[in-house]
């Protein structure tokens, strides 16, 4: 029967449609509805919200900030995570397992708890590290951390780094260790081996890790909400505020839909690029 595969996948498709497609379509429709302080949501077709999102410089600035944060988080996660994965991969048996646990362990703890940890260390005058540094005379005023982009980037990098380490580690495991020996035998220094032989081979791993980290950083909610707060809004915290504080659901929907579309475009574009670049080499 030709239709059997379709029938068999029907339950899953129905579930997918019910919990993903329908709410998504409803959110898109919602973004075209009208809203007023006293009249609430009106189911009419209007481009008002979209016009506001695209013309008000507040939203432009906020989207720039979202993607700027995501970009730097991705960059730092790659700069720290890739060497970390390489070192991890070279460790001997008992240590490797232990340090893998150290790196992946934070995934087991709530993002909120981890972010609050950063807030406790750096938050204002009472933050532990700030207090220590000030009392030692290293700095005269507490380091600005809360409600700054730097703070959000630092905390998000910490939260998302395990994904980068895992992606690069998976790529490293596929390497033939003899390839490094071959390069050494041909006269390559340890640094040259890493730069010319190891790095190019794990580049697809770094790039796929980067795509994951970027997508998670751009749509992250808890960390920017705690560190950035109301003063430093990103797309997800703004959409949240529109939904739950202003109660302007249609505008929140427009922001959410735009974030989704932009993210999908960036992620799909990036993975296409990566695939085309490496199809020939790594098949």
């Amino acid at each position: 029967m030709k239709s059997t595969p379709y029938l068999l996948s029907l339950p899953a498709l129905l579930l997918f449609g019910a919990i993903v497609i329908i709410p998504l379509v409803m959110t898109v429709l919602l973004s075209f509805h009208d809203w007023g302080q006293y009249k609430g949501i009106e189911p009419v077709f209007t481009l008002k919200n979209w016009r506001e999102v695209f013309t008000d410089s507040y939203f432009l600035e906020m989207f720039w900030r979202t993607f700027r944060i995501a970009f730097f988080v991705t960059l730092f996660a790659a700069l720290l995570g890739a060497p970390e994965a390489y070192i991890l991969n070279r460790m001997k048996s008992p240590w490797r397992g232990l340090f893998l646990l150290v790196i992946l362990g934070p995934l087991l703890i709530s993002v909120v708890a981890r972010t609050l940890g950063w807030a406790l260390l750096f938050g204002g005058n009472s933050g532990l590290i700030n207090k220590a540094l000030v009392s030692m005379g290293v700095i005269s005023a507490p380091l600005p951390f809360m409600f700054t982009e730097t703070g959000v980037i630092v905390a998000l990098t910490h939260v998302l780094m395990p994904y980068m380490v895992l992606a690069v580690w998976a790529a490293l495991q596929r390497l033939d260790p003899q390839v490094e020996n071959a390069a050494v035998a041909l006269g390559a220094s340890p640094f040259t081996v890493v730069r010319r032989i190891v790095l190019p081979q794990v580049m697809p791993g770094i790039l796929s890790g980067a795509i994951i980290v970027f997508a998670l950083a751009a749509s992250a909610f808890a960390t920017p909400a705690i560190i950035g707060g109301r003063r430093l809004k990103v797309a997800s915290t703004l959409a949240y505020d529109e939904f739950l504080n202003t109660l302007n659901w249609p505008l929140g929907a427009a922001v959410a839909v735009l974030l989704l579309v932009a993210l999908v475009a960036i992620v799909v574009g990036a993975s296409r690029l990566v695939e085309r670049r490496y199809a020939q080499v790594f098949g």
Partner: protein
Amino acid sequence: MSFLSLEGLSKRFGTHTAVDGLTLSVEKGEFVSLLGPSGCGKTTTLQMIAGFVEPSGGAIRLEGRDLLAVKPAKRGLGIVFQSYALFPHMTVVENVAFGLEMQGVAAAERTRRVGETLELVGLGAFTGRYPRQMSGGQQQRVALARALVIRPQILLLDEPLSNLDAKLREEMQIELRQIQRTVGTTTILVTHDQAEAMALSDRVVVMNHGRAEQIGPPHEAYERPATPFVANFLGRTNLVNGTTVRPEKIWFATSGLAGKVRTRIFQGNHWLYQVETAGGLVTVIRQNTGEAMPGEGEAVHLAWAAT
């Protein structure tokens, strides 16, 4: 003074002795095979020469210099790995040019030598391909070219043909021998395949439990094995009435050791017999000359030349 010498070379891993006091002298231009079953220490020996494994004892000298004092990257040896270990993200030309680049050879000279070496291994037309796009045999040639292009003092081959199918392996054996003769590089081959070792080498080192059981030309080791292990490893043997006889040295005669054919297997160019005799089961190999041969169950007499 010999070109390369291993002097009482040993390697212990914990309580396990992988190589146990191996002494070997290799002349310039010689092709020597380290032959033995897996775990006999042949690969460890090769890795100690290459510098990837540090010996527990003994010395390695190249033209009298202490090779162990030289870092692996400075030894200037050409190595062909069992997995080929090509750089997957580089084209054939980039792979072969890598060693020259590391030596700081100028671009023009590099291009010339890479071209020459690729011609030598018969890959002149494949320059822009990536390893993934090539067959096992072609990858093998790239690996050989990459090792030879730096004009190594010694070429080390670690089971280079074991990943190829039987027919290709035979072709590559002939080609490898020709290439080695052409460039005249001193070569050390590690293999568990006695046919390969005998086909390629000037001398074989038959190894067992980390020791050399016999070192000598293949023909000599085959005809006059020093130990029962060597005799068995280099081919089939029969132990008849206390003497060791190779199956192909026994023929059917009108008189001699009486027996009965238990099985007869046709293998194209030869017949393989199992003959029951008073002295036990005897294996006989007779060349297929097209003549009629005794069938299963027939009574026969076996004869062989006294040694």
